[in-house]
Symmetry: C2
Subunit: 311 residues, 2 copies
């Protein structure tokens, strides 16, 4: 019987292999969704706009959000093809938010994963439209006849995704983030901002698996809470990375939040508190999935990965 | 029995009253959807972003697209509350497109219906996020439990709206419109551009009524074709107005398309051709609805209104 260190090692290896495999599937699907082939009810796909969308999406990301959709669906026996497509939809939506956040009027970033941002490679108008089109495509992919789910499941996914992404979720969080540059929020303000800006989509990613696997209320609630823990862990890890890493590792400008005087929980409570809080989220996340036994190990590994990631 | 002139007169009066009544219902519903009340699964609604969304939407427009959703649904006996909500969703999406089109990187307009555009009254970042949030809200409203339709109907609406609004529809049309500033498109290019930029949403508005009323394929196809005729009429009327009217009547800058050298069918084929083509669309639209008899008169009046509107 292997000792616990070996088990951790093999778990981590399994996780990283699985993350890479899932990312490859997602990348392939995204490339298929973003060809020049004109779909039913579409009139044309202008080449320049399509290129900008592809640049914003097909960039070799870790595809963490699709991973969470796919693995939570697998945990509960959801349809694999449906989970792949919902994962790709979520990634389109995530990438739209990056394209818009990078705009000169927002965070004004020139680089994303070491490459020029969409508005730098194309132009501002094209970046705005590429983001708009990716956001729209996310709902298209979910509702498409090619996604093997019932109308009720698709409706639940559309609703949950819209709530996670709109004024009450991610877009609202970005608005709070911009406001935070002018006036630093208090601790509750930071928690709300982060839960909206990054937490909501991660929560959706996990909840989506339960919707795909039949939309049982109890599973959905558990995975939703798991997603919330992961979301907080993600943000704490991000803030800690922002504090310590450099642009070469991150492939984007770092230390910017601190430089702009935006509050983070790390800045407010200190690094030790943040590291302890981070470990607490991972423990809580693991405990939430304990009833699912070994099958859930890959998701627990994902929580650890999120907490310990170096970029 | 009244003569035909009197019938036309009373038809027009009925139409204008109905347009006003429907617009009032839509306005009321939009105001209810855009309060500070935090919905299920929303975390918070940041006040500044909400104000910007309200400024972009609650501006006393004619609400032509909701009118078409509501009246096509009525024609076929669709659920009234559902039609009102889908109409409001479509209006949110239409208004998102106006907010983004007005941005400095796009058409750079300072005025919209005689008021400052969203980026002028707020700022660019807020206008981008307000547009993003309105687009997202459109799908939220359709999928919401408060919209009394089946999961399959909601899915059909989400899919049709996404296709009408995304790269293969409205957003793609805006990309072609920006490209047309640099190189004037040929006649087929103009037709494609206009079918995407303005036609697709008007087509969706009419098709939506059929989906709401049970999604019968034959009705849906007829109303879709009616919507296409209306879309072309709308664009021809717009181009003719752009040629002849002044900023005071339109409440926005006019003559801009011509000044920028963008091709229009009016510029290419002349005013007489365009007026004849416009009347042809109205006749075709009326013929398509002839099988529905008197019940369809309000929609035929709508086609005439679109062709003859002065602003």
């Amino acid at each position: 019987m292997p000792n616990s260190r070996e088990m951790e090692g093999s778990g981590a290896m399994t996780f990283e292999t699985r993350l890479r495999d899932n990312a490859a599937s997602t990348e392939k699907l995204l490339a298929e969704l973003l060809t020049g082939a004109v779909g039913d009810d579409e009139i044309a796909r202008p080449a320049n706009l399509l290129d900008a969308m592809r640049h914003g999406v097909l960039n070799g990301g870790k595809r963490l959000r699709p991973f969470l959709v796919i693995e939570t669906a697998r945990l509960l026996g959801g349809n694999e093809a449906a989970a792949q497509r919902v994962g790709a939809a979520l990634e389109c939506l995530h990438c739209y938010s990056l394209v818009h956040d990078d705009l000169p009027a927002m965070d004004d970033d020139d680089l994303r994963r070491g490459l020029p941002t969409v508005h730098r490679k194309f132009d501002e108008a094209t970046a705005i439209l590429a983001g708009d089109s990716l956001l729209t495509l996310a709902f298209d992919i979910i509702a498409s006849p090619e996604t093997p789910l019932t109308g009720d499941q698709k409706t639940a996914l559309v609703l949950a995704l819209a709530r996670a992404a709109g004024i009450g979720g991610m877009a609202g969080g970005q608005a709070l983030d911009l406001a935070a540059e002018k006036q630093a929020p208090d601790e509750q303000g930071i928690v709300t901002l982060q839960a909206m800006k990054t937490g909501a989509l991660l929560r959706f990613a996990c909840e989506a698996g339960a919707i795909i696997a039949g939309n049982d209320a109890s599973h959905r609630q558990t995975l939703r809470r798991f997603g919330e823990k992961i979301g907080l862990a993600f943000q704490l890890a991000d803030d800690l990375l922002d504090l310590t890493s450099d642009a070469a590792t991150m492939g984007k400008a770092t230390g910017k939040d601190a430089a702009r005087g935006k509050g983070t929980l790390v800045a407010l409570r200190g690094e030790d508190w943040a590291r302890a809080k981070l470990q607490e989220q991972v423990r809580d996340a693991a405990n939430l999935l304990a009833p699912y036994g070994d099958k859930a190990e890959i998701l627990v590994e994902a929580a650890r990965f999120i907490a310990e990631r170096k970029s």
